[in-house]
Amino acid sequence: MFVAATPRSISPEAIRMLKLKSILYRKIILKIIYSAGAGHTGGSLSCVDILNVLYNHVMNISPENLSLVNRDHYIHSKGHSVEALYAVLADKGFYPKELLDTVEQYGSDFIGHPTRSVPGIEQNTGALGHGLSVSVGMALASKLDGLGYRVFTILGDGELTEGSVWEASASAANFHLDNLVVIIDRNTLQITGRTEQVMAMEPLEDKFLAFGYSVRRVNGNDVAEMAALFEDLPFEPGKPNLVLAHTIKGKGISFMEDKSEWHHRVPNDAEYAAALLELDQAEKALETEYEH
């Protein structure tokens, strides 16, 4: 039987390490986007704390067990925020960090959306409303084979208007996939503006409950809160898990936060320098916080 690698408790030092990772990942994300001259800045910064907690605290995935079926799996359904995933996978040793210099370069495997050509990425995504169905299939295979491995997927909140998300949700509950963990990056912005103004989808929690999920809300930029929440998986036996992760688009860089213009804007030289300065200050503040 599959045993998840999740410890039952997390120390203050482990939380501090996660917070430092988040800062590191934000620096890598900005460097990728600044160097490539393209990328989804806001969405990568909103979901990176979730990826951080999943890869460093929750999921049993590593370069060493990648070829096994009986391990946790991750599908990046909101494929446009690939820079966040590239940063985390590089840090976890799935490929040399130097390869990030090739993102979106001619002939590179590191394109602007996830592909299986990159070690650690399990499915090509980028068109929205696809990742949840694929995750349902993987979680169903786990159940059919009696293995019990888990499948995690992050969806954007703008993605929720795709009808296929709801087809997939019906099937997740129909097959009682309590080994499926669906996380919504609820940053309330999409390229045009507020998600609720583009297409009103609230009350989301009620919709997900009605579709048969066990729903939890969390601050999706708070690594400690998420680390604690994911220790409760599965939330209810026999029901797929849904985490409404409330996040801030552009999180971590003051002038990018909660602004739809940073959906895929690339920082100029001055903005890049200012962003790095903010992250350096956050890093120092974290060190000071724990010294006292």
């Binding site: 299986r116 068109a127 696809h130 169905s133 995750s135 299939g137 993987m138 295979a141 997939a168």
Partner: protein, 333 residues
């Protein structure tokens, strides 16, 4: 002469379902995926015998294809059994991204393809599937003509390393091949005796191979020599067989249960032109118009996909070609 003059076998779909049942008994990883389509896909007995190996996804084709990609990524041998019209249109983006682009070796079985649903109308016809799938990289396309080709295709599909789309009609099909015929996905089968030269070649696929073959019988009674190719694989496309047949024939006629745009005929025409093989050519299929109401055979007859009509088309094309050949220096390749 009609198709009924040939010994009739089963529907290709029944042979598909029987073959899969044989294989599933020894391979627990084989899964059948349906969209409320197990009865029309003839897989109800499969589901009764292997209840753990059939997954019902309801009438939700997009999710069905995405789920199938996920199952295949976890090592399952996945056969989607769903009406061709919905599978290849409604779920086209999932086929493109989740299956073909992601290189998940799902087997997509398009049932009741072409105009098999007859008078149910255009919503239920799939006259676009060759066209759209040919424009998507990394998915092979097979339309078996008879029970032999069907069984061989399924045997080959089990361990096929790439995504594959296999298309079946609903009608009981005549057996066209001897049991010892050689079958390989991507290799056309010649149904007529090998000659050095022919008056014409019919290149047909799926359920139109039988009328093309019967047309060749009518023509041979008139002393016209024919080559008939069953080009079951639209992709991989058998360039060698098409080149050889066209080079040794005066005219070429393609026949398909598909739009005349973007299917077998377009593929053959493109290949021949780019290979500098210039032959008078007719693409027989469903023309670019609202399809006439009727049964499959009535629709076939309406659009000239019958032994008699095909033999007439052949005679007219040969006459035209003879006129042009009377002019010196033309068509000398």
């Amino acid at each position: 002469m009609s198709i009924d003059t040939l010994p009739i076998g089963s529907t290709n779909l029944d042979i598909f379902a029987q073959t899969l049942m044989e294989l599933a008994a020894n391979d627990r990883d084989i899964l059948v995926i349906t969209s409320d389509s197990r009865e029309s896909g003839r897989v109800t007995p499969f589901g009764n015998k292997f209840p753990q190996q059939i997954v019902e996804l309801g009438i939700a084709e997009q999710n069905m294809v995405g789920v199938s990609a996920g199952l295949a990524s976890a090592g399952k041998v996945v056969f989607i059994v769903s009406p061709a019209c919905f599978l290849t249109a409604r779920a086209l983006e999932q086929i493109k991204n989740d299956v073909a682009y992601s290189d998940q070796p799902v087997k997509l079985i398009g049932i009741s393809a072409g105009v098999s649903y007859g008078a149910l109308g255009t919503t239920h016809h799939s006259l676009h599937d060759f066209a759209v799938l040919q424009a998507i990289n990394n998915i092979d396309i097979v339309a078996p003509a008879d029970n032999f080709e069907t069984r061989q295709t399924i045997l080959a599909a089990i361990h096929y390393p790439r995504p594959i789309y296999i298309r079946f009609g609903k009608k009981a099909m005549p057996n066209l091949h001897s049991p010892d015929a050689h079958f390989k996905i991507g290799k056309a089968i010649q149904l007529t005796p090998q000659l050095d030269n022919y008056d014409l070649v019919f290149i047909a696929t799926g359920e139109t191979v039988a009328p093309a073959y019967l047309a060749s019988q009518i023509l041979s009674e008139k002393g016209i020599t024919c080559c008939v190719l069953s080009l079951h694989s639209i992709r991989p496309f058998d360039e060698a067989a098409v080149r050889q047949a066209a080079m040794s024939s005066r005219v070429v006629i393609t026949v398909e249960e598909h739009s005349v745009n973007g299917g077998l005929g377009s593929r053959v025409a493109s290949f021949l032109m780019q290979s500098s093989i210039f032959r008078p050519l007719r693409i027989v299929g469903i023309p670019d118009e609202h399809t006439i109401t009727g049964s499959q055979v009535e629709i076939f007859n309406h659009y000239g996909i019958s032994p008699q009509a095909l033999s007439q088309t052949a005679l007219q094309l040969l006459d035209k070609e003879a006129d042009k050949c009377a002019l010196p220096g033309r068509f000398s390749s």
